[in-house]
Structure formats: C-alpha cells, structure tokens
C-alpha cells in the first residue's frame, strides 16, 4: 500500500526554484532517505509533506487522500528536526506526553504510552529530568519519543543525526533503523551524509538543486548511478572523474584520458551510439583501481604517490598521473611513501562513462 505520494511538487522562494517537479511514491513501512548536499531542497520537501509549507504546484497524498489543504495537525505526520525543540521547563515525561495531552487522552493511558515508548528508546532514566541535563543524543531520543508516542502514520526526520558526535551518530543510526523495523512505520529521513543514506535506507532519493536525480536501493545508486552527480555524491572516497575521448586503436577501443586509458572494446558500440560526437567523462571508483609494485604487460601505467590517508582498515592513496590526481582504495597492509612510483591498473569493466554536457551516464551496465 502506498504510504506517501508526491506528484510534480514545485516550490519557489522569490526567484529561486527550491523544488522542481518532484514526484515520488513511498510504500507503507519503508525507510526512505532523501540525500543531498545542503541547499538541495530536502528540508523544504519534508516541510511540504508535513504541511508546514504549501507547494506552489503539485499534490501530496498520504495513503489515498490528497492532503494539500489538510492542516499539519490533521495529517498524521510526525516530524523531528535537526535541533529538536523541546520545552526546557518540562521533564522528559512531560515533553513526551505533550502531544497526547493536547489530544485530551486520559492520564493513565498517557502514562502507559509514554513509558512504553521511553522503554523502547531506553530513556526511562530521562523521564524525571529536564532537557538541560541531557546529552545531544539523549535530547534527540526524547524528541523522537515525542514524535513516536502518537504513532503517526509517517515519521519525518530532518538530519536527525547531524549534531551528534561521530561515535554516537553511528550508534543512533542503527537504533533508528531497528526502531523503524520494529514499529513498522513509514519513515522519511533526510541527510547530507551519503554513508548514512545507504546504511539506513531501503531506498534513497538523491537530490540536487531541487531535482531528484535518481531513486533506488543502496546498491543501485552506488553501482549504477544515473548521473554524474549521483556517482560523485554516493560513495566515499568520491568517484574519480576525468575527461576522456573514445578512440580506436587497431581492433581495440579505448577511452583515452591523457596519461592513461581504459579498454572499453566490449562497450564501444554502446558508448558510440549513445554519445556520438559528445565530450565524455570517465568515472572510476577508488576501489576499482589496483596499485601494483611492478609493471604488468598490458593496461598498466605509471604514477606517483601524492598523499596517503590511513582509514584503519584500509588506505586511500592519492596518485598523480600527468595532470590528473586519482584516489585509490587499498588494503591496510601495504604502506606507500610520498613520491613513490607505483604501477596502476583499472578494473576496466567497472569504469563508468558520462556525457560531459548532460552529466547523464552512458552505457550504464558494465562489461
């Protein structure tokens, strides 16, 4: 069953188009992530769903009902903000109970429901305390409890983890996913952090400047990005992108990227037919570049180590080939020295090609 549907939603602020023709459909009980850089239009989109902002054009459906004219309080939507507003003079219990109180639910029922949700979120110790004594993570959970207690049909979370320490953020991310599964609610989660997006999302909408560039599961947006923006936004370290040209060499076809090239013979026809006469960009994920200590016969080129970054379980080595810097992901066991000479090989079939002008992926499927 459809939980939420947006049809061609647009919004302007003065001359700026914040949302352009945004359409999406979220089934019940899905954890849907809206990912994008700051300014992509994520918060505006959530506020339109919640009813806090009216769209200039387009329709919002919750279930089968068009809710454009339904006030926020009657939409059955809960929203948790980046910095959750809580009442400083109320205890945790009073804060969480607030949405039930205004609905005139009787005291014993309120108590029961507040305690149930507090137990689930492991914040029973906060019920008697006031917000001034909470940590960032605790504050976030109290706000979450307040949104959950009235069991909304849809829960909107706007950057819920943004202001938390890296370590707590990691833990809370998992808790939120568990919570969503166990409560079986439809959740729309906004984030600027691509790792968070793929880690929690059943599906992800990648937004850029008010437009949804792609919607898909985590492996789809990672492995088959539809546009250059999605390719570079999803994945860390970022996909390497460099200018290239399709050229024929004997019976082989290569993408020539000044200083190195990639054999695309198997895909040459496809690339040619889709991007005839167009300028192309070559995209290679850091884990699809292999660093060798001695040269191999074919498809291998020389490079210089520019920078290495130790991630603990793996290393990012930045190499320079002519004018181009490339990030490569390698295991933790081999150490590279600054300026060291290395030999580089691409996993050719993993290379992506984009139309430079439109940014649209060419010959998306590998090999």
């Amino acid at each position: 069953m459809v939980g939420l549907r947006l049809v061609k939603v647009s919004k302007r602020a003065g001359k700026r188009q914040i949302l352009k023709n945004v359409s999406l459909e979220i089934p019940d009980k899905e954890l849907f992530v809206i990912a994008g850089p700051p300014g992509a239009g994520r918060t505006t989109l959530l506020k339109i769903i919640a009813g806090l902002i009216a769209p200039d054009e387009g329709e919002v459906y919750i279930g089968d009902q068009m809710v454009n004219t339904v006030p926020p309080g009657d939409r059955d939507v809960g929203m948790v903000f980046e910095t959750p507003p809580v009442y400083p003079n109320r205890t945790g219990f009073q804060n969480i109970a607030f949405p039930l109180e205004i609905r005139k639910i009787n005291d014993s029922e309120i108590k029961e429901q507040v305690e149930e949700v507090a137990e689930f979120l492991q914040i029973t110790h906060l019920l008697d305390r006031k917000p001034a004594t909470y940590s960032g993570g605790e504050l976030q959970r109290v706000a979450l409890a307040r949104a959950l207690v009235r069991k909304p049909r849809i829960l909107l979370l706007d950057e819920p983890l943004k202001n938390l320490d890296a370590k707590i953020r990691e833990r809370t991310r998992v808790e939120l996913k568990r919570l969503q599964r166990e409560f079986g609610i439809t959740m729309v989660f906004s984030t600027h952090d691509q790792l968070e997006a793929t880690a929690v999302g059943d599906r992800i909408a990648v937004m850029n400047e008010g437009v949804i560039e792609q919607i898909g599961g985590p492996e789809v947006v990672y492995s088959s990005p539809r546009t250059l923006f999605v390719a570079r936004f999803i994945g860390s370290p970022t996909m390497n992108v460099t200018e290239c040209a399709l050229k024929q060499m004997g019976d082989r076809w290569i993408l020539d990227a000044s200083g190195f090239n990639v054999d695309v013979t198997a895909r040459a026809h496809e690339i040619e037919s889709q991007a005839m006469g167009q300028e192309l960009l070559l995209g290679v994920r850091p884990e699809d570049i292999v660093l060798l200590s001695s040269p191999e016969n074919t498809g291998c080129f020389e490079a210089q180590v520019e920078l290495t970054q130790n991630f603990g379980d793996e290393r990012v080595v930045t190499i320079r080939v002519g004018e181009v810097s490339l990030n490569c992901l390698t295991g933790k066991d081999r150490v590279f020295a600054y300026d060291e000479k290395v030999y580089v090989k691409f996993k050719q079939e993993k290379a992506r090609v984009f139309n430079r002008e439109t940014g649209i992926a060419v010959a998306r499927t590998a090999g």
Partner: protein
C-alpha cells in the same frame, strides 16, 4: 629540539578537573591530533597552548622557551577556529593582511608577504574577491593563510571540518592533508572524528576524561589499542568487544564468551599466566571477521544476520553469534539479507585481549 612541549598540564574549572595530568610534545613539521569525545579536555589544551586559558599547573614550552606568562599575541601561534572567523566585509587580501596591518608592517613588505602566503595556500587568483563570496574550501585556505602570514611557530586547528557537510568534509580533509604537506609546519589539531585524526595526523593522542589514554601513529593506535576505550573509540564501526574467560581444555586454550568458544591455542603465549576463569575482554575489528555463505572453514561459527548497512563497496553486517551481537565489515554480498545464515571466521592473529578490571590490553 621539539617545537612544542606540554608538561604535566592540569586545569580545574571550579571543582571540575578538566585536565588531570597531560604531557606530550610536537616535533618540527609534525601534526599531532588531540582526539576524544566532547568534554574530554582537548579544546582546553588548545586554548592553554594559545594562551587563551591559564593552566592550574603545568608548563608550555615553545622552541624550548617557557611561554606560560606570555600573552596570546606574543606567542607566535596561529589559531584557526571552527568557523574560520573570516571577516566577510574584507577581501581575501585584507583578511590575510589583517594581522600584518595590526603589526604596522610597511605596505611594500605587506603586499609581498600576502602574495607569498596566498601562493602557499593557493588563493592567489582570488585575492581581490570579497570574502562573503568564498566557498568553504576557499575560506579554510584563507583562514590558514591569515595565520601563516604571521610566521607562526605552531599552528592550532580547532575542529576545522566539523561544521561542514559530509561530502565537502571529505574533499577538504584531502585538501588539508596536501596543504599540510606543502607548508610543513608543526600543528596541533583537535577533533572528535576518528577518521579525520587517522588521515591527517602524524601522531594521535586519544583523550578521555582529561587524560591521554594513548599516543601514537594511526597504525599503532588502530592495530595495538592499549585500552578498551581506545579500541572502542578508533575504527568505524568500532571494534567488537565481548566479555570472555580463559578455559584450559587439556592442551587446548579456549576463550569462552557466552556460547562462543574460540580456540586460541596457537596464540597461547598471549594468555599464558592468565588463570582459568579469569575475566577478559575479547576484541575483534569488524573487518577481521570473514564471512561466507557456506561452511568452508572448519573453525567457522554460525551467524544470523540481524541488520545490513550497505556502505558502497562494503557492507556492515550486524550478526547474532552465540547469543552476542557482532559486527562484521566486508564486501557487499547481494543475496545476504536480514535473517540469512552465514559462517563467520575470526581472523585469530587479529584478536585483541583486554583485562576486564584494568581495561588495559593484555600483551
């Protein structure tokens, strides 16, 4: 001679002991990172070095000279704040020139110095731009440039990447790394982000409750965590830690944790001297568990998938193993979902052991 020496630093705020006894040094051209959760005292150290805070006791030496009594402006230390504090109404040039004008440097000398500095931090082409038009990465470079123009002996960076969105942070982390290599100045860098520390620092001091728990290179800290806290703080996702006890079964040595039994006979040296039933904590990093859909390895343990977090080429698997929740990180396996059964093999030479009482590593 070390560039900076910090000796037995203590700081009380009322009755709260923010720093207990902190000592470390920073060598010429070295970047030392102070890493820890909020409230661990890392920013207090930075402020004491800069002269913005007076220590309750302890000493700070710069180039071998005690600077405790020197006011901030006479310490020759460049401080870059979290929000960069760029003057928006001034051009990039005037931002970099700011400190030089305060020092009443002659105009000709000033122009020369600003240009030199601008070339170092790669902002030559935007010197005339008004600062409010700058992107984040440019602002960062201008802020570093403004500090460098004054020829500081030491650069202090206070969480320079913390208010930035994830994607830009990644890019700026790399740029800051390159910039550091080029300018080669002794730096103290404060952050709560372990990845930032791992990638930018020559050495990391991991802090907790006003004390340094361990100081060392990224590899030392990651591969040989000295305490439980460090093991848990470094790494994303963190190291799996499970209570266990030593059981001697004939000539086999076994670590038992709930229903999980790990034969470590081949590494018995490590646990030798530990009495039967002694309480230990077993640690294993998520990437040191290998996963398989079939039992190909005889020592593999059955695991049920509770949650999958896809993160690009890798996934984080939350597994239920012998009554415990264990995290594994490995290549994404497309057919593995919640409820799938897998076989997990502990990479035994990557197992860490800690004493449960002292929380220290058993070496």
């Amino acid at each position: 001679m070390p560039k900076l020496v910090v000796k037995n630093l203590r700081k009380m705020f009322g009755t709260f002991e923010a720093l207990k006894d902190v000592s470390f040094q920073v060598e010429e051209k070295e970047t030392l990172c102070l890493l820890g959760p909020s409230g661990c005292g890392k920013t207090t150290i930075l402020r004491i070095i800069a002269g913005l805070e007076v220590p309750t006791s302890g000493e700070v030496f710069l180039d071998g000279v005690l600077v405790n009594d020197l006011p901030p402006q006479r310490r020759q230390i460049g401080l870059v704040f979290q929000d960069y504090a760029i003057f928006p109404h001034l051009s990039v040039f005037e931002n970099i020139a700011y400190g030089l004008r305060v020092r009443k440097m002659s105009e000709a000398e000033l122009v020369k110095k600003v240009r030199e500095t601008a070339s170092l931090v790669d902002v030559e082409s935007i010197l005339d731009l008004p600062s409010k038009k700058l992107g984040l990465s440019e602002m960062q470079r201008v802020a570093v440039g403004r500090s460098l123009a004054l020829d500081p002996k030491l650069l202090l960076l206070d969480e320079p990447l913390s208010n930035i969105d994830a994607k830009a942070r990644e890019r700026m982390r790399t740029e800051l790394g390159k910039l550091q290599k080029e300018i080669g100045i002794a730096t103290v860098y404060v952050t709560h982000d372990q990845l930032e520390a791992m990638t930018l620092a020559d050495r990391i001091a991991v802090m907790r409750n006003g004390l340094i728990e361990q100081i060392g290179t990224a590899s030392e800290i990651y591969d040989n965590a000295r305490t439980l806290f460090v093991a848990n703080f470094i790494g994303s996702p963190p190291m799996n830690l499970m209570d266990c006890e030593v059981v001697y079964d004939g000539n086999r040595v076994i670590l038992k944790s709930g229903d999980l039994a790990l034969d470590v006979t081949e590494f018995a040296e490590t646990v030798r001297g530990k009495g039967e039933g002694e309480e230990l904590v077993l640690g294993i990093r998520p990437e040191d568990l290998s996963l398989d859909v079939q039992k190909t390895n005889p020592s593999a343990i059955e695991a049920k998938v509770q949650l999958v977090e896809p993160i690009g080429a890798r996934s984080i698997y939350h597994l239920r193993i012998g009554g415990l929740t264990v995290l594994a990180k490995g290549y994404a396996m497309p057919d593995v979902n919640v409820g799938s059964n897998l076989w997990a093999t502990f990479n035994k030479d990557k197992v860490h052991l800690f004493d449960k009482k002292t929380e220290e590593a058993v070496v």
